[in-house]
Symmetry: C2
Subunit: 248 residues, 2 copies
DNA sequence: CCAAAAGTGTTAGACCTACACCCATGA
DNA sequence: TCATGGGTGTAGGTCTAACACTTTTGG
C-alpha cells in the first residue's frame, strides 16, 4: 500500500562542465511499469499514473521521486529511490521542505516531501539504474519544461543548498575524490554565485586543514599540471558539526 | 475531510525567566471537542482521538498541532493553528522537518510536518485561545512526560533554531518590542549555550545598526536603569537575507 | 616558443578577544 | 550607603581584501 497523497521528490545536484546540474527523469511507460512491479505497488501506482496525463507527456521532465509506501520509513525509502536512480550508495541527502500547497497538482491533493542530494556525476552510472533511459542531467540555468511545481522545488532546493554551503563544507560531495583547488574554487563560485579571489580562496581553504595533498598531479593537460587534493574526512566531520564561515 | 496519516506539530518557543520555554498542551476532552467542532472535522478526529489512549492521559503533554484538512494549505493551516493556540498573528514560523519513521506512533502510521515558532510570552494571551486551560509553558531543560516522539521533535527544533540563530537575527522574535542589551545577551547565551563577553557583545550588536535607541529606560529597578532598544525592521530584513555571523 | 592555467606574498584595514573598573538607581 | 546590575576602552592578534607576476606544461 502506498500513501496516495504523499510523495517524495529528490532534487539531485551534480557539478558538470563547471555548472550545477539537476538530474531529471521522464517517466516512459515501460520504465514506470518496471519500477512499479519491483515495488509491488503496481495497481495503485497505475491508477495515479493514469490519472495524471502530464506524467506521460514526452515534453515534461520530472524530479526523481515516488509515492511513499505505508510500510516504509520516509528517509530510508528516499535513500532507496536514490540508489535505484543513480546506482550510488551513501549519497549526501538532506530533507529540506515539505510542499503542501492546495493547487500544486491539478485534480488531486498530494503533499511532497522534498530532499536534495549531492553527487558527483563521474561516479553516477546510468547503466546501473532501471530507469536509465529516461534520466538526464540539465543545467540548472537551462531547465526543460517540468511537471507541476518542480521548478519551485528546484529553486527552493538551490536556495537551501546555497545557504548551507555558506556555513558548511558540503560542496565536496559534488567533486570526485581527487580534485584541484581550481575545481573547488569554480564549484564554490557557482554555488555562491560570485567570483572569488584565487589567492585568498587558497589561503582560506588550506588554513582549514580540510584538504590533503595526494602527491598526485593532473596528467595530459596542455598547461602546468595542478596538484590533486582529497579531503580529510575527520576534519570534514568536525567542520560540519561546528560550522564555518565560507562566505568568502 | 482530514488526512488521517498526516499531522502538523508546532514547537512554540518562548523566552521566560531567562530560559527557553516550549508551549505544550494537554488535550482535555472538552477542549478537544470544542476544537473539533470549530473545524467541522469532529467525527474523523474523534476516531483518531479515541484510538490513541495516550492523547487522553493526564500525565502526558503534547506539541500543539492537528491533522491537516484536505482542503487546507499546509503552511496557512499551521498559521491558523498557531493563532488559535496563542491568540497571536504574524508569528515567526519555520517548517524545519517532516518526521516519517515507521514506529513513531503506535498502532498507526502518521507522518508529521514539524514547525517551530518564536513568540514573546508577554504578548501571548492564553485567554484568547479556545484551548487556554490546557496550555502551559515548560522550561526546555525540564520537560514533562510527552506523547510519542515529541521529545525528538523538540530537540530537533532546538538544534535547528541554534543553527539558524548563529547566522540570522531571529532571536529578536522572542523579545518584547523594547528590550535591554542585557536581555538580548542573555537570550543569545541561552540559545547558543555559552556565555558571551558583555563588552564585545555590545560592540558587535551596536555595529550592526540593527538596534534603535528608543530614548526610554527601565523603570523601578533597584539598580541603574538600562536603556531600552527596539530593532530596526529594515536592517533586520536586510540582515536576514544576507546572513551574518553571530557565532560570537 | 607560445598559449593556458597553476601557483604564489604583502600590506592596510577590519574584526576579534581578553580583560577590570566606575556609574546610576531604589531600597 | 549598600547591593545590584548597567555601562564603558584599549591593545594585541588574527582574519580579510585587494592586488600582478612567474612557473610549468603540452602542443
Amino acid at each position: 500500500m502506498i500513501f496516495k497523497n504523499l510523495s517524495i521528490d529528490c532534487v539531485i545536484f551534480g557539478f558538470r562542465d563547471n555548472k550545477l546540474n539537476v538530474l531529471l527523469w521522464q517517466p516512459e511507460p515501460e520504465i514506470v511499469k518496471k519500477l512499479l512491479i519491483l515495488n509491488d505497488v503496481y495497481l495503485e501506482f497505475k491508477e495515479i499514473y493514469e490519472n495524471n496525463p502530464a506524467l506521460k507527456s514526452d515534453k515534461h521532465w520530472g524530479l526523481i521521486g515516488m509515492h511513499l509506501p505505508v510500510e516504509e520509513d520516509l528517509n530510508d525509502y528516499t535513500k532507496k529511490i536514490l540508489e535505484m536512480a543513480t546506482g550510488l550508495q551513501n549519497i549526501y541527502l538532506k530533507q529540506f521542505q515539505t510542499f503542501g500547497g492546495i493547487n500544486r497538482i491539478p485534480h488531486t491533493r498530494v503533499l511532497t516531501v522534498a530532499y536534495y542530494a549531492l553527487i558527483n556525476p563521474e561516479y553516477h552510472d546510468l547503466k546501473l539504474s532501471p530507469v536509465a533511459k529516461a534520466v538526464k542531467w540539465f543545467d540548472i540555468d537551462n531547465l526543460p519544461d517540468v511537471a507541476y511545481d518542480a521548478k519551485d522545488i528546484i529553486s527552493h532546493a538551490l536556495k537551501t543548498l546555497r545557504e548551507e554551503a555558506k556555513y558548511h563544507p558540503v560542496g565536496f560531495h559534488l567533486l570526485p575524490d581527487k580534485f584541484t583547488l581550481n575545481e573547488l574554487q569554480t564549484l564554490y563560485e557557482v554555488i555562491l554565485g560570485k567570483t572569488l579571489d584565487t589567492r585568498n580562496f587558497r589561503k582560506k581553504i588550506l588554513n582549514m586543514n580540510l584538504l590533503m595533498d595526494t602527491g598526485e598531479k593532473q596528467k595530459h593537460v596542455a598547461h602546468r599540471a595542478a596538484k590533486l587534493f582529497s579531503f580529510d574526512m575527520e576534519m570534514y566531520n568536525k567542520l560540519r558539526e561546528e560550522g564555518l564561515n565560507f562566505s568568502i
